[in-house]
């Protein structure tokens, strides 16, 4: 099995090293790194803006580029947190705690150097995990019938909506809204138009680009306009030489890096827990096992190495359920899945065997992309630091233009732009009401497949709704339903027993006055 994985990987490198694929990968990580550095832009908005531009390029290139934006943004986000104390990207919020004090002590460069090393270590582990785990998951998943797929999706949706930020109840409400938005359009079996309000443009359903750009573009801009304080660039003079950590700093970081990597890769396997939660858990763990926990927050290099390693290992690991099962764990993965579907590729366990070039090319490109990122970040650190000073008032109008033209280009139709505005307004109202719109996208992407499999499962079982928990004939499905029930019970238990023990600590770190783009 190891040898097949290695031959497949070899094939993947062949795909990823083709000049045009290499170029798309490079553009992806470059743009990702850039938006990661820019305060106020998130990977979600960027991927949605780039999504319509990928319609014209082959599927492999499109996926390599969009994924590159995602993990590239993680590199850039770290620069922003360490040098500016701005948690622009939620996964890096904890990095601020020790990264910024280090910057004030003049060791910001070393912190960035450690970040690059731990990111690479974390990412490499995540990729290795994907190489060996994804094929195993696929062999299991290929045996799934409609009932199993349905239960698995239910579990994925539930985990994705309740484990992410904010109130679990509201997360579930948003997922249901997403499923409902997925219904808009003609019914697959009978062709009956549903929830179209008589508008012919809606018969094809809501455009995923319009939905994503409304929620993560327009609504986010409305939330952040005039809210970003002036960036303090006092400490941002970092040059190539400063990046080198001392021997002592390196020695202290290795253990933290290793632990962070493991925690991140475990978190990646649970849908919905993504990089943000991974970084919080790993920081807390590191603090707990440290001999000097009281020093955390005053500039401990371990406090930088650990969350960064776990973020990156979890970012790469997030692709495992997405690519092998077709179940995205968060909104970014839902978008990448959406990009696949637009290219006419059906996500699911058959993806690896039917489109090996996409899967193995992607895996190989992760490594190539991560190496590119190290190369981009180490000598060019001065340039990235300069980008930090671009004010938001120049940023969001330019982004709005890309939003408009991007949505327009999906169908060369102004109706889509109008749709985006309406969705953006609704999204802002939802934000004001304390809803996090990310699960909407999750529900939207999975909705049609969920309904289809649900109908099929019920047809096969002749209308017996107990088919999902039938231990005798569908043990796997019953197991998934059991896990879903367990998830709800555990969350209820935690909430009722100590309602405020965990949450404030997490939210306090993500300072509300500094904006954090919606991200799981």
């Amino acid at each position: 099995m190891v040898t097949t994985a290695l031959t497949d990987l070899w094939f993947g490198f062949g795909v990823a090293l083709e000049p045009h694929n290499l170029m798309w990968c490079f553009i992806g990580v470059l743009v990702g790194n850039m938006v990661g550095v820019l305060p106020g832009m998130g990977p979600l908005a960027t991927i949605s803006i780039l999504l319509p531009l990928t319609f014209g390029i082959p599927p492999v290139g499109a996926i390599l580029m969009l994924s590159g934006v995602f993990y590239g943004a993680q590199y850039g986000g770290a620069i922003c947190s360490i040098l500016l104390n701005l948690p622009c990207h939620p996964p890096h919020a904890v990095t601020c705690l020790d990264g910024f004090p280090l910057t004030k002590q003049g060791r910001g460069g070393a912190a960035l150097g450690i970040t690059v090393i731990s990111s690479f270590v974390g990412a490499s582990w995540g990729i290795t995990e994907m190489i060996f785990l994804a094929p195993v998951l696929v062999t299991v998943a290929l045996k799934f019938g409609p009932a199993e797929i349905c239960s698995l999706m239910l579990l994925g949706l539930l985990a994705g909506s309740t484990l992410a930020r904010g109130s679990p109840l509201k997360g579930v409400a948003m997922t249901v809204c997403g499923l409902l938005i997925g219904i808009v359009g003609s019914d697959i079996e009978t062709g009956t138009p549903r929830f179209t309000f008589g508008i012919p443009n809606l018969f094809d359903g809501v455009e995923i680009v319009a939905l994503a750009l409304g929620l993560f573009g327009i609504a986010e801009f409305m939330k952040s306009v005039n809210q970003l304080s002036e960036v303090d660039t006092k400490y941002t003079k970092v040059t190539f030489k400063d990046l080198r950590p001392t021997k002592d700093e390196l020695r202290r970081s290795w253990g933290a890096m290793f632990r962070g990597t493991i925690i991140g890769s475990l978190c990646a396997l649970i849908p919905g827990t993504g990089p943000t939660i991974a970084s919080f858990i790993s920081y807390a763990t590191e603090k707990k096992i440290s001999k000097t926990p009281e020093k955390f927050g005053t500039g401990m290099i371990e406090g930088v190495a650990c969350p960064e390693a776990s973020t990156h290992s979890s970012v790469q690991g997030d692709f495992i359920p997405t690519m092998s099962l077709g179940i995205p764990g968060d909104a970014v993965m839902a978008l990448i899945l959406g990009a696949l579907m637009i290219q006419g590729i059906v996500p699911g366990p058959q993806l690896i065997s039917e489109h090996p070039d996409i899967f193995w090319g992607l895996v190989a490109s992760f490594w190539i992309g991560n190496i590119m990122l190290v190369v981009l970040n180490v000598p060019m650190i001065g340039l990235w630091v300069k980008l930090l000073a671009i004010p938001y008032k120049y940023l969001y109008p330019s982004a709005l233009f890309f939003v408009c033209i991007g949505v327009y280009s999906t169908g060369n139709d102004m109706f889509q732009v109008g749709e985006t505005i309406v969705i953006g307004l609704i999204g802002y109202v939802l934000l004001l009401l304390d809803f996090h719109p990310a699960p909407i996208l999750l529900g939207f992407v999975l909705g049609p497949r969920f309904e289809e499999n649900f109908r099929r499962a019920m047809l096969i079982s002749r209308g017996d709704s107990l088919v999902f928990i039938d231990i005798k004939n569908h043990p796997i499905s019953a197991f998934f339903i059991f896990l879903a029930a367990l998830l709800i019970v555990v969350q209820l238990y935690v909430r009722l027993r100590r309602p405020k023990a965990l949450i404030p600590e997490l939210e306090m770190n993500a300072k509300p006055n500094n904006i954090a783009p919606v991200e799981p």
Partner: protein, 156 residues
């Protein structure tokens, strides 16, 4: 009691979800629901509508039992009417100008108007930003990516 309830965020979020769920439930029963074995187009939305109504009621319930947060407001403390208006007006103008005058005027109006939403922006600064985006933007989308959207047109 009722006064404090009116200030709670969850009062509105729960209410909104309940209303939405009820609306969906009512609307989906106008489609053919079918039986469990042969589901019609209305069955799945009907189920989702019921679930959403139920969740809405639960959120509403949490508003009743939890005490009022320290500064709980529906609108943010600083009301950015200018910013909100400009951000919406930008894409709206993009539609109008795009329909009648083409890509370049649409782009310029979109960037120019939305840039005015920032409190520190000036007319001149916004014009310059608009030009700085319009020229390379149109070159990129029209000349490089060949988007079928004329740079100038007279669409009346």
């Amino acid at each position: 009691m009722f006064q404090t309830l009116l200030r709670k965020r969850d009062f509105y979020s729960g209410g909104l979800m309940t209303l939405l769920g009820a609306g969906v439930t009512l609307d989906s029963s106008t489609y053919e629901v079918g039986s469990l074995t042969h589901m019609g187009p209305g069955m799945f939305p009907l189920m989702l509508g019921v679930v959403l109504t139920f969740i809405g009621v639960l959120i509403f319930g949490t508003a009743l039992v939890t005490p009022l947060g320290e500064d709980e407001h529906i609108l943010p403390r600083q009301k950015e009417w200018r910013g909100w208006f400009c951000i919406i007006a930008g894409p709206v103008l993009f539609i109008i100008f795009g329909h009648y005058f083409g890509m370049a005027p649409a782009t310029f109006m979109c960037v120019f108007v939305s840039a005015l939403g920032d409190r520190t922006s000036t007319l001149l600064g916004s014009v310059l930003l608009g030009l700085a985006i319009t020229i390379p933007g149109c070159a990129l989308f029209s000349l490089v990516l060949h988007l079928p959207f004329p740079i100038f047109r007279w669409g009346f």
